[in-house]
Amino acid sequence: MSQALLADITIFVLSLLVGFEVISKVPSMLHTPLMSAANSIHGIVLAGAMLIAVTANNAFAYTLAFIGAAFAAANVMGGYVVTGRMLKMFRKKPELPDATAAAADGQVGAKVSGSVKS
């Protein structure tokens, strides 16, 4: 076994432990945003998909690089944006007039929740 591989395995095992430790403290109230946040983190595979391009020299590898980059980019971009959107909604105090609340919600939130309230 090479030194590099042993280092990789060490990283893997310690990261698993850190993952268990960090997640166990999150209250169930935030489990949906948490799952969504974890979901965006595995979008890091975008880095892997981009690196395919380094050695790509035929149509097959280019196709793989394209699909991989597109898939992973959708994962990263969508994951972070939707997590942010969810977390923005968690408020400590109710905002008094509904109009301000809807406006602060950003364009999308306003569209969804504003339709019923306005």
Binding site: V22, I52, A73, P94
Partner: protein, 473 residues
């Protein structure tokens, strides 16, 4: 290691630190947004550094650049569009779709590496530990890809939510599993060629479909959480394949977090994970538990009486369940709650860990309806407060309120429940006496303190709010 490689490596480590701290900040709603931003900054740093590495290598052809840039742009736009337009009730489907593409991308990284080596100079067979990681990556990635697509389809209603089985389904499943595991082991020995890769890929894609199809729609949230853990693991394996530390760290983090969430959720539903994957629970027949109180009648209440009970209460605990989300009545419940608060009633929400369609989903739905999170109480926190509540208003929640869970010997024995029956009075809003997921009678409905309000959640809440306005002024 050149200075360039060293810097790249250090920045990758910094990105991994951002991911860990980002997840850590998720433990409070106050810091959660900062956590997400920190995690996103780490991601941007990792991607920028990867681009710098691509430029540094200098071997990327013009076509390569076009492919990577256009691919990333197309994917980003698709992700951005779906993230901005998705309804909060459809969140589980979206998470599932992101699992599918993430798992798919991880699978592609391994396929590319394998094909590159196998068709390279001298046609060597990819061997050694890289072969192990490659086999696992292709297997897990492909199962996640098709499994997540089916799960999303079921939640969206594109694929029937009912468990789908066909004659010989089990045999097909076993054959696919044997092919998949066999070819993966062959690949790990380092003697496999392209043909084995194709067999592994196809059987794993097939297995993903046949694994999820027979699982009922109600179990999908657990499946999605499990597939999230799978995707993380696949990404970590991709990290081993291309020897990239940030992929390994991030993948392992997600693998661990997904596993914990899956376990928490399965526990809250009183199910074991193997039991869910194998399926065959909750067919709708009330077998056990039906004996108690099945013959007794229930009492009903009309909007006016319910309104008076609520408006003259000191403390009201609202217990929202999936029925509330299904009726899209989050805004109506918040309107009623605000109305009651203006009459001096204390209103809080009791949230069971699995209320909604994924863990914590109900909190998001209520947050969207502008309910402040300080009013959302978790099960352990709210249960001691039920005896002090004048009215518990149950909307579309069933099994999680059934006191039968405290007794041994029935389907839901031992399941953690909300102590709704300890409140001084209980109003249950429900469309019919239909059974919950466990398919058994809810003893709460036959309690002498309980009155039933048979209506759709949205209509019921609107009627109650109107009645409060007319009667109490």
């Amino acid at each position: 290691m050149s200075w360039f490689d060293t810097i790249i490596y250090l920045i990758y480590i910094a990105a991994a630190v951002c991911f860990v701290l980002g997840l850590h900040l998720m433990n409070s709603p106050v810091t959660a947004r900062r956590g997400n931003q920190l995690s996103a900054s780490g991601m941007i740093a990792a991607i920028v550094v990867t681009l710098a590495a691509l430029i540094h290598f200098g071997t990327v052809s013009v076509t390569g650049w076009i492919v990577v840039i256009v691919g990333t742009a197309v994917g980003s736009l698709a992700g951005l569009y779906s993230a901005r337009t998705v309804k909060m009730t459809a969140m589980p489907q979206l998470v599932s779709m992101f699992n599918a593409v993430g798992g798919g991308a991880a699978c592609i990284v391994a396929i590319n590496d394998f094909v590159k080596v196998a068709t390279g100079p001298g046609h060597p067979n990819p061997a050694g530990t890289v072969a192990v990681a490659t086999a696992l990556d292709v297997l897990i990635g492909a199962v996640t890809f098709t499994g997540s697509l089916i799960a999303a389809g079921k939640l969206q209603g594109v694929v029937s939510g009912a468990p789908i089985t066909f004659p010989g389904a089990r045999v097909v499943n076993i054959v696919l599993a044997v092919l998949m595991i066999g070819s993966a082991i062959w690949m790990m020995t380092g003697t496999a060629g392209i043909v084995i890769l194709i067999v592994l890929l196809l059987s794993a894609l097939g297995f993903g479909i046949t694994m999820v199809l027979p699982i009922g729609g109600a179990d999908m949230p657990v499946v999605i959480s499990l597939l999230n853990a799978f995707t993380g693991t696949a990404v970590a394996m991709a990290g081993f394949v291309i020897n990239n530390p940030v992929l390994i760290t991030a993948g392992a983090l997600v693998g661990a977090s997904g596993s914990i969430l899956t376990k928490l959720m399965a526990d809250a539903m009183n199910r074991s994970i193997p039991n869910i994957i194998i399926g065959g629970f909750g067919t709708g027949d009330a077998a056990a538990g039906a004996a108690v109180g099945a013959g007794a009648g229930v009492r009903t209440v009309d909007a006016d009486d319910a309104a008076i009970q609520l408006a003259y209460a000191q403390k009201v605990i609202v217990v929202p369940g999936y029925g509330l989300a299904a009726a899209q009545a989050q805004n109506e419940v918040q309107n009623l709650a605000q109305l009651l608060e203006s009459k001096g009633v204390e209103v809080v929400y009791a949230i069971h860990p699995v209320a909604g369609r994924m863990p914590g989903h109900m909190n998001v739905l209520l947050a969207e309806a502008n309910v402040p999170y300080s009013q959302l109480k978790e099960m352990e926190e709210i249960n001691p407060e039920f005896p002090r509540a004048d009215v518990a208003l149950v909307i579309g929640a069933n099994d999680v309120t059934n006191p039968a869970a405290r007794r041994p010997g029935n389907l839901i024995s031992g399941m953690p429940i909300l102590d709704v029956d300890k409140a001084k009075a209980i109003i249950v809003v429900k469309r019919s006496m239909g059974h919950g997921y466990a398919g058994m009678d809810n003893e709460l409905y036959y309690d002498e303190k309980t009155t039933m309000y048979f209506a759709d959640g949205k209509t019921a809440l609107e009627e109650m709010a109107a009645a409060v306005k007319t009667l109490v002024g």
